[in-house]
């Protein structure tokens, strides 16, 4: 395992950072939360942030915390799907395809919510899950997994996640389409 400083990784994958923070801001605005400060990208730790008011509504908390995770994952899957075939399967040297794949991976690498986001979710979810809140029930395993993966960032779990989405999502999509005959 080799060490690359966080700011270097963030700089190499800056589109993902910006999209992640834009996702936070989007959901803050959607739920009409007060936003005190936003940084879309910087050379530091964290590479970006959105400071918003304390959230008491679990639905808002869920979407503000997890929204960027889903948005980044979806965008990663789309960009990587468009470039997956020439890069991995067909072995066609197409610079544009490699650019799209880098873009997809950069976005996918920054899908994970921060530990702060997850801690807020984690604090509220168990109590609400006991009361039968569906969103809380759904969020529990996802949040638990993401907490573990977040700690795995030191061993490139974020890159691993990006690659997993960027490889397995296209394979699943193309194979399914081929099998159902589309």
């Amino acid at each position: 395992m080799f060490f690359i400083p966080g700011p270097v990784i963030a700089a190499l994958t800056f589109p993902g950072v910006i999209i992640h923070e834009a996702g936070h801001l989007f959901f803050c605005r959607l739920f009409k939360l007060q936003v005190f400060d936003v940084c879309f990208f910087r050379f530091g730790n964290p590479a970006g942030y959105v400071i918003h008011q304390e959230i008491h509504d679990f639905r808002a908390q869920f979407f503000v915390s997890m929204g960027p995770f889903f948005a980044n994952t979806l965008l990663c899957a789309i960009f990587c799907t468009t470039a997956f075939l020439p890069v991995w399967e067909l072995k066609v040297f197409d610079p544009l395809a490699y650019f799209f794949y880098w873009l997809g991976l950069s976005i996918g690498m920054h899908a994970f919510p921060s530990t702060t986001d997850l801690s807020h979710l984690w604090a509220q979810a168990p109590g609400l899950a006991k009361k039968g809140n569906v969103l809380a029930i759904v969020s529990l395993p996802v949040a638990a997994l993401l907490v573990v993966l977040n700690y795995g960032r030191v061993i490139w779990a974020d890159l691993g996640y990006g690659l997993a989405v960027g490889v397995f999502a296209p394979i699943a999509i193309f194979r399914t389409l081929a099998i159902i005959g589309i």
Binding site: I19, T82, A83, L85, F100
Partner: protein
């Protein structure tokens, strides 16, 4: 030190020890109680915080333009931001560019989607053993992406397992001149094994064809062709050729009934100039042996059929002309001799003249 009255208990306290809850001022015990009574979400904050901007921490006191949002107060500059933090212009532009890139990537990827789709369909068909149907799909993939290891190996496998060595060769040779990334991959090893088996069989078949042209080596030729057919059963043409070589064996043994039976069977299976000519040859042998004119007539009819089938095929017509001359000799002389003998007797003489 200025003091303010608590809205809960009515006592006066220094400002720095008081709290604000929903616009009312409380001492700490009253703030805790009032917060509990207000229910979910009610939180109190130090009253002194009302004097500083909740965002930029600048002193706002009672200055005009101060805006209260929730529990916090903000200066005139920060309040609009906090109320409605807008997306920066560059971000809006970037998102627009991202959307354009998304569309561009989808448009750019179209030809690859087509190639990939064909490859996955081909792969699916190969995994179900439907090699003949898989081959055109995989060939379409290779047309767009000839360097794809996966498509080349799948196409070669499908071709080899349908007896189409030429297509397999094209797929493999067209792929970086036959070089592959990883020769240890099971997929490569499988295709390599098939390729060795198929080309080995074809070499035997070529050797058998050489023997077939030589008088007296008919048995050896048939044996080699049978070995080739056995080694590569996926190519039915080899088994067909092996059977046709049995005609030569029967001819050498003067077993013209067997010769005719095989020739007629082959003619029924595949109506081609060669099979028609073989029937004509066998019938001519029968005529030579029996003198039965019916055999002669049928022999001539079959030769005519062979000509009709060969129409437009210069190579086949040339072969038929060569055969027709020998067949005519057989019918007219009622002598049965092989090609080499015929050439020795008549053609070398012609050549020397």
């Amino acid at each position: 030190m200025s003091e303010v009255t608590c809205n809960g208990c009515g006592h006066s306290f220094p400002i720095r020890s008081l709290f604000d809850l929903n616009g009312s001022t409380y001492c700490e015990p009253c703030a805790i109680r009032a917060s509990g009574e207000s229910g979910r979400g009610a939180s109190y904050s130090p009253l002194i915080n009302r004097s500083i901007c909740g965002r930029c921490n600048s002193f706002i006191g009672d200055s005009p333009g101060v805006v209260q949002i929730g529990n916090l107060r903000f200066c005139a500059a920060c309040a609009p931001l906090v109320k409605d933090w807008d997306y920066p212009q560059w971000l809006k532009l970037s998102l627009a560019v991202l959307l354009l890139l998304l569309v561009a990537s989808l448009a750019h990827g179209r030809k690859y989607f087509q190639a990939g789709r064909e490859m996955y369909i081909g792969e699916h068909l190969v995994s179900h053993g439907d090699y003949a149907k898989a081959l055109p799909h995989l060939q379409e993939t290779l047309r767009i992406a000839p360097a794809s290891d996966k498509a080349a190996l799948l196409a070669a496998k499908a071709a080899l397992l349908t007896g189409d060595v030429a297509s397999a060769s094209k797929a493999l040779e067209g792929h970086n001149d036959g070089r592959f990334e990883d020769a240890d991959k099971p997929e490569f090893k499988e295709v390599n094994g098939l390729w060795i088996r198929a080309t080995g069989a074809l070499e035997k078949a070529a050797q058998a064809a050489k023997f077939e042209d030589q008088d007296g080596k008919e048995t050896e030729a048939a044996q080699l062709m049978h070995e080739a057919a056995l080694a590569y059963p996926e190519m039915p043409a080899l088994a067909f050729a092996a059977e046709s070589f049995e005609e030569g064996v029967a001819f050498v043994r003067h077993d013209y009934d067997t010769f005719l039976a095989i020739a007629e069977k082959q003619w029924k299976a595949q109506s081609m100039p060669q099979t028609a000519a073989a029937v004509a040859s066998a019938l001519a042998c029968k005529y030579a042996m029996t003198g039965d004119l019916a055999y002669r007539q049928r022999s001539e009819e079959m030769l005519e059929k062979a000509r009709q089938l060969a129409n437009g095929n210069a190579e086949a017509l040339k072969n038929l002309d060569e055969f027709a001359e020998r067949n005519r000799f057989r019918l007219e002389s009622r002598q049965i001799i092989g090609r080499e003998e015929y050439n020795r007797r008549f053609r070398s003489e012609k050549t020397s003249k």
